[in-house]
């Protein structure tokens, strides 16, 4: 599991969970102030994100917490503002709701309301997203809520490499970072760089280059968008560009702007609810910044305005699917075609 082992030269394919352990153990070896707190983390975590840490770093630094979400967070704020760098874990993002007071009213405000006297270098990690009938209390995504709160940085990796690199940066960052791991991609594998590896916050990634339309997304939706792009290329000859935001705060609008300026069309996709989701902010900004130069309205794909039902056919109906991205792209480009035909084109030439 160590980054310096004999596996260095060989296969660097690993799961998100393994990439996470790697980021954590490298950070913990380098800095004794990095600690991990959470329920049951001694036993490795739901996706193996903590596997081996208890053994290597012992129970002083890998702290199995009582089922007390408020205090997991408050203790992290107290420790962070007195010199530690805690990584607080809440297995499912829904459990962060039990710590919202500490997240919103303390972690996010401490630095500002005390006039910059202190900073709060903590990471709050949680798993979000839909995974096989986990139902209403274990399937949701709250990044829009976290992104709305000033003082929080929000990270949502889409690849195992980014899981490692963004987590490492989040731990090194001096501000509270909400680090969201999507459940569905938690066990998917990818090539992960060896040793110390940092991906900066606020730098989006072009996950696929394309000419016709920009899909702005993050986390699991990057996978869905890649699937959709393949279908669209094959069936429609549509060339999709995919922007993986990686971090919502800071938000890399420069990369989004460059892509939309090129394609003239934008589709936004996230697994969270469409209504009031982070896609609304993106759509509002893109609509404003590319006013008169878009070939079609910005389309948004997200969960329907409902909670996640248990029954598989219902879950599929509420959660956004790859086909919805495909559909949104087709509609977007059809809009432009129709507009051109009827002489109502708004801009891009």
């Amino acid at each position: 599991m160590g980054p310096d082992g004999p596996e260095r030269a060989v296969d660097r394919q690993m799961t998100f969970g393994q990439a996470t352990v790697e980021a954590l153990s490298i950070a913990m070896r380098a800095d004794e102030r990095v600690i991990v707190l959470g329920e049951d983390i001694g036993w490795g975590g739901n996706f193996g994100q903590f596997r081996g840490l208890l053994k290597e770093f012992g129970p002083r630094r890998v702290i199995d917490m009582p089922i007390s979400e408020s205090i997991i967070m408050a203790v992290s704020v107290g420790a962070a503002s007195t010199g530690m760098r805690p990584v607080a874990s809440m297995s499912f993002v829904e459990f962060t709701m039990g710590a919202m007071d500490e997240i919103v009213n303390q972690a996010a405000k401490f630095r500002f309301m005390f006039g910059g006297q202190t900073s709060v270098p903590l990471v709050l990690r949680a798993s979000d997203g839909v995974l096989r009938s986990s139902a209403a209390q274990h399937s949701e995504s709250f990044e829009a809520i976290f992104a709305h709160i000033p003082g929080l940085k929000v990270v949502a990796p889409a690849t195992a490499a980014d899981a490692k690199g963004l987590l490492a940066t989040a731990i090194a960052d001096d501000d509270p970072v909400v680090y969201l791991e999507n459940k569905r991609i938690g066990s998917s594998r990818g090539e992960v760089p060896d040793g110390e590896y940092f991906v900066p916050l606020g730098r989006a990634r072009i996950a696929r280059e394309g000419r016709d339309v920009t899909v702005v997304c993050y986390s699991v939706m990057v996978t869905y968008a890649l699937d959709a792009a393949k279908v669209l290329a094959e069936q429609d000859g549509i060339d999709v560009e995919i922007v993986d935001l990686r971090t919502l705060v800071p938000l890399d609008m420069a990369t989004v702007d460059a892509s939309v300026a090129k394609t003239g069309h934008a589709v936004i996709a996230h697994e969270a609810w469409r209504f009031g989701g982070f896609g609304a902010e993106l759509a509002a900004q893109i609509s404003e910044r590319h006013f008169g130069r878009l070939g079609a309205p910005v389309a948004r794909v997200g969960a329907k305005h409902s909670h996640m039902p248990f029954s598989p056919p219902l879950e599929r109906a509420v959660a956004p699917q790859a086909e919805e991205i495909t559909h949104a792209v087709r509609t977007t480009l059809a809009h432009r075609a129709r507009a051109v035909a009827t002489g109502r084109d708004a801009g891009r030439t």
Binding site: E39, W43, I67, I71, S133, S134, A136, S311, A317
Partner: protein, 332 residues
């Protein structure tokens, strides 16, 4: 804290037999659920109640039909004990339209409000205040009902425990808090996260009675719970009961259980609540054949529920958004 003894509460044989039947029904239901899950028949994940049957059984037996219970993520046993029929219960675990929650809830949210079963809940500690709220309804509308809140030894460390018990005590609500101390919260042994050994000492912080009970002794459970429920119904306020029991299986079905010793688990089977009830019944002259008949009847009922569930339709995808609001809203 009093460690109440069995002897305090000898049960009539007929009563014990009834309790035995319920425990057996839960046991067989849960064993079957486990199998079905491993055979990939059930979506999601499931937490079973194996080994803890005496708690739900004894407590719910002391309740009246209109009374309320709140449950946990490990809620099948509570549902059965509160009288939920196995057909819609099993169908719910399958995610079928005929389930208690029309397939919307699944294992972690089984509920039957018509029976006062206010839902299994996927949020640990979610029931503390909900039970107090139901008790408040009873008090304000003079319904004479009692609410029971089931929760785990892990749940007792949630802040909501503290807030609810304080409030319930201040308002002298008809609610009984029943801790199922099965020694584990997920993969973590109780003593690693909990500051006291005897959990019922926490009652003193709220000025209410607290009792620790052998939760695998159905007679003790029924007796102590009956007293606390009666007390609550008389308007004398809440109690905290800690039922010492043990979780035979993993936290969820499929759990590898690397965190504990298989031998320690096996040893706990000596305290098995069902076997202990059998021993008493046999000693009192009940026939082994009669007990076998009870088990067989339960098996048949469970099998029928599996058949019912298998043959039931899935909900129609077009209904996916139904029921979010009581007064529907068109949201663009």
């Amino acid at each position: 804290m009093t460690r109440k003894a069995v002897a305090d509460h000898p049960l009539e044989s007929a009563d014990l037999r009834r309790l035995y039947e319920t425990m057996v029904k839960i046991r067989i239901f849960e064993e079957r659920v486990q199998e079905l899950f491993l055979a990939r028949k059930l979506p999601g994940f499931v937490h079973v109640y194996l080994g803890e049957e005496a708690v739900a059984t004894g407590v719910c037996d002391a309740l009246q039909p209109g009374d309320y219970i709140t449950s946990t993520h490990r809620g099948h046993g509570h549902a059965v004990a509160k009288g939920v029929r196995l057909d819609p219960l099993m169908a719910e675990l399958y995610g079928k339209e005929t389930g208690v929650c029309r397939g919307r809830g699944g294992s972690m949210h089984v509920a039957d409000f018509s029976l006062g079963m206010l839902g299994a809940n996927g949020i640990v500690g979610g029931g503390f205040g909900i039970a107090a709220g139901a008790a408040l309804t009873s008090k304000l509308l003079d319904l004479g009902r009692v609410a029971v809140c089931f929760f785990g030894d892990g749940g007792i460390n949630k802040g909501t425990f503290h807030e609810a018990l304080n409030f319930a005590s201040v308002q002298q609500l008809p609610v009984v808090y029943v801790c199922e101390n099965n020694q584990f919260a997920q993969f973590t042994a109780r003593e690693r996260t909990t500051s006291v050994e005897d959990l019922s000492v926490r009652a003193a912080g709220y000025g209410i009675p607290g009792h620790t009970v052998d939760g695998n002794d159905i007679e003790a459970v029924r007796g102590v719970a009956g007293d606390a429920i009666d007390r609550a119904r008389r308007g004398e306020g809440p109690s905290l009961l800690v039922m010492e029991t043990y979780r035979y299986g993993g936290h969820f079905v499929g759990d590898m259980e690397e965190y504990r010793d298989k031998a320690a688990v096996e040893q706990q089977r000596d305290r098995d609540p069902i076997r202990r009830a059998e021993t008493i019944l046999l000693a009192r002259g009940v026939d082994e054949a009669e007990l076998a008949k009870v088990r067989e009847a339960a098996r048949v009922e469970v099998e029928l529920s599996v058949e019912f569930a298998e043959q039931s339709p899935y909900p129609d995808a077009s209904t996916a958004l139904d029921g979010l609001f009581a007064t529907p809203v068109v949201q663009s």
